[in-house]
């Protein structure tokens, strides 16, 4: 790969990171508009980013098809003259910066620890699929996880964590020391203890260790 090509690809990556501004930004977007190879790179960069962030890629199969559809829709769009148009300048740029920035931050974090992130995605992905744990489970990482039973025979669905009546909130330090808000209900903890007390030997042999280790933050 010649040096110029390499630089072009790096610029695509930088554009995806939101690192280009002003003249450089305009030129990169311009190049992307006319060069098929750069558009392919653009897609690869996003695919890699998606996989690193979420372990799966966004369900967008073909950007060319998407673009074609977008053009069609734009052409069909009725343009209403006189509608308040944002001045093409300040505000537009701000919106752009915001949209590009948030994923960029994560992308950089992921890129910095790329190999670790990839390994973690492989090692832990299956844990997230835990049977009855609904798809939205990862969003509500509070414990206990609130699940509302569906109609008879239906799998339970996740309810908003705030729906849990008036559970006590407490800060708990987990794993690497990152604080996490957990929903704890002291009354429920008490029942859990009573349950464990009655469990006795009708448990796997390591059940006692499990119970003593995996206890709630309250008493």
């Amino acid at each position: 790969m010649d040096e110029g090509m390499k630089q072009d690809l790096e610029r695509v990556s930088a554009l995806a990171d939101g690192a280009l501004h002003g003249e450089a930004f305009a030129r990169a977007v311009g190049d992307l508009g006319v060069r098929e190879d750069l558009r392919r790179e653009w897609q690869v960069v996003h695919l890699v980013g998606d996989v690193l962030r979420s372990g799966t890629h966004a369900p967008c199969s073909d950007s060319a098809a998407f673009l074609a559809r977008l053009r069609e829709r734009l052409a069909a769009e009725v343009v209403r003259p006189g509608a308040a148009q944002p001045a093409p300048g300040a505000e537009l740029r701000m919106v752009r910066a915001e949209a590009a920035n948030e994923p960029v931050f994560r992308w950089k974090v992921a890129a910095g620890v790329a190999s670790v992130a990839a390994a973690a995605a492989i090692g832990w992905a299956w844990m997230g699929q835990g049977g009855t744990a609904p798809a939205g489970a990862q969003l509500a990482r509070s414990t206990p996880q609130l699940v509302v039973p569906g109609a008879a025979g239906q799998p339970p669905v996740l309810a908003a964590a705030t729906q849990g009546g008036q559970p006590a909130r407490s800060r708990v330090v987990i794993g690497n020391g990152a604080p996490q808000i957990m929903l704890r209900d002291p009354r429920l903890d008490e029942l859990l203890q009573a349950h464990q007390q009655a469990s006795g030997a009708s448990n796997m042999p390591s059940g006692f260790l499990r119970n003593a280790t995996f206890e709630g933050p309250s008493r």
Partner: protein, 363 residues
């Protein structure tokens, strides 16, 4: 003062055998890191007939479970134990476990969450909560008995679960047999167990749902088997209760029949093991108003907590999950305001639902 000071493990090492672990450490440092050099390898072979299985592939589910329970009663060890749930929660604890004849003593020092240490001497369990200056004291039912004689019989465990030897594995640097305990219906979880090759001690355990997903797993991240631990030293720590207030749970034994509760239809595989009346929480002063009726299938336990419905206390009707433990709450309607049921168990939510459907008032 066990939990306040967080005594280092060295305080528990018997002075007569101080160099074994050091020797192992030196061997490791000397370039043998690739070999599984452990303290137990240098220990004299203490092969009891039970510790040497004939052919692991031939063992039935009860043989495996008996072997695991026996190992827990006969092995002394020190290690770090980690529990993680599918939701990403991670807890860990330092474990000391010593055996001497019929006496078993265990110390579990929580490394995550609020500081607490739990001691168990046979069926007596003391939990030191240094931040509150409180020791919770309780007796566990049948903690030494397997299978639980009051609950499922041996034959029923074999009729509810099958077993499959998956192969060999390694946990915390120790060779293990990997065994899957497979439920025969969808009312209970399955388990994948890493059982130490010689003794059968459970080194790692995964709780599996019907799709084979891991609901929760626990494992030793590091463990020293046959550790030179002194029962006496642990016992002394457990007895250092000065400065603490001891709280005992308020409960009395009863029967479901006497309390006016029955199951319209039994939940397959689950048999009643105990029934208590308990005083709990902010209503503790009202006396023992909560009935706890506990069932077991030999491996999994379900507790039904039933109390008079109180709109102030009751939350919404939900199902909650904490690792492998599910909780279901349900209002039971009756003329006099009804009842509030909280079902708790290491079982799939549908099992709790079956209990809730079957529970009926007999008067």
């Amino acid at each position: 003062m066990p939990s306040r000071a967080g005594n280092p493990p060295t305080a528990l090492l018997a002075p007569a055998r101080p160099f074994r672990s050091i020797a192992a450490a030196l061997l490791l440092a000397g370039g043998l890191g690739g070999l599984p050099v452990h303290a137990q390898d240098t220990a004299p072979e203490a092969a009891s007939p039970a510790a040497a299985p004939q052919d692991p592939a031939r063992l039935g589910v009860l043989d495996w479970l008996r072997r695991m329970h026996q190992a827990a009663r006969q092995t002394s060890y020190v290690g770090t134990f980690v529990v993680s749930a599918a939701t990403g929660d991670l807890s860990s604890a330092r474990i000391w476990h010593a055996c001497e004849g019929d006496l078993q003593i265990e110390r579990v020092e929580a490394l995550s969450g609020p500081p607490r240490s739990t001691f168990r001497r046979n069926d007596l369990v003391l939990t030191f909560l240094p931040e509150l200056g409180v020791i919770r004291s309780e007796r566990r039912d049948n903690v030494e008995v397997f299978p639980n004689l009051l609950g499922a019989s041996e034959s029923s465990i074999a009729s509810l679960y099958g077993v499959r030897l998956l192969g060999k594995g390694r946990v915390a640097g120790i060779d293990a047999d990997v065994v899957q305990i497979v439920p025969r219906d969808d009312l209970r979880f399955g388990y994948r167990v890493w059982s130490e090759r010689r003794s059968g001690l459970v080194l790692k355990l995964q709780t599996l749902d019907a799709e084979g997903g891991v609901v929760e797993q626990s494992a030793f991240s590091e463990v020293q088997l046959d550790a030179p631990l002194q029962v006496r030293a642990l016992d002394q720590m457990m007895s250092s209760t000065s400065g603490y207030r001891i709280e005992k749970s308020q409960l009395r034994r009863t029967t479901a029949e006497a309390e006016g509760w029955a199951l319209k239809a039994p939940v397959p595989g689950f048999k009643p093991v105990s029934c208590y009346r308990r005083a709990l929480g902010s209503r503790a002063s009202d006396g023992e108003r909560t009935v706890q009726w506990t069932f077991s299938d030999g491996l999994a336990t379900v507790s039904l907590f039933i109390e008079p419905f109180d709109p102030q206390q009751a939350g919404p009707e939900t199902v909650m999950q904490l690792g492998a433990t599910y909780t279901l709450t349900r209002r039971l309607l009756a003329e006099d305001g009804g009842w509030w049921l909280t079902a708790v168990g290491e079982v799939p939510p549908r099992t709790l639902e079956s209990f809730a459907q079957a529970l009926a008032r007999t008067r």
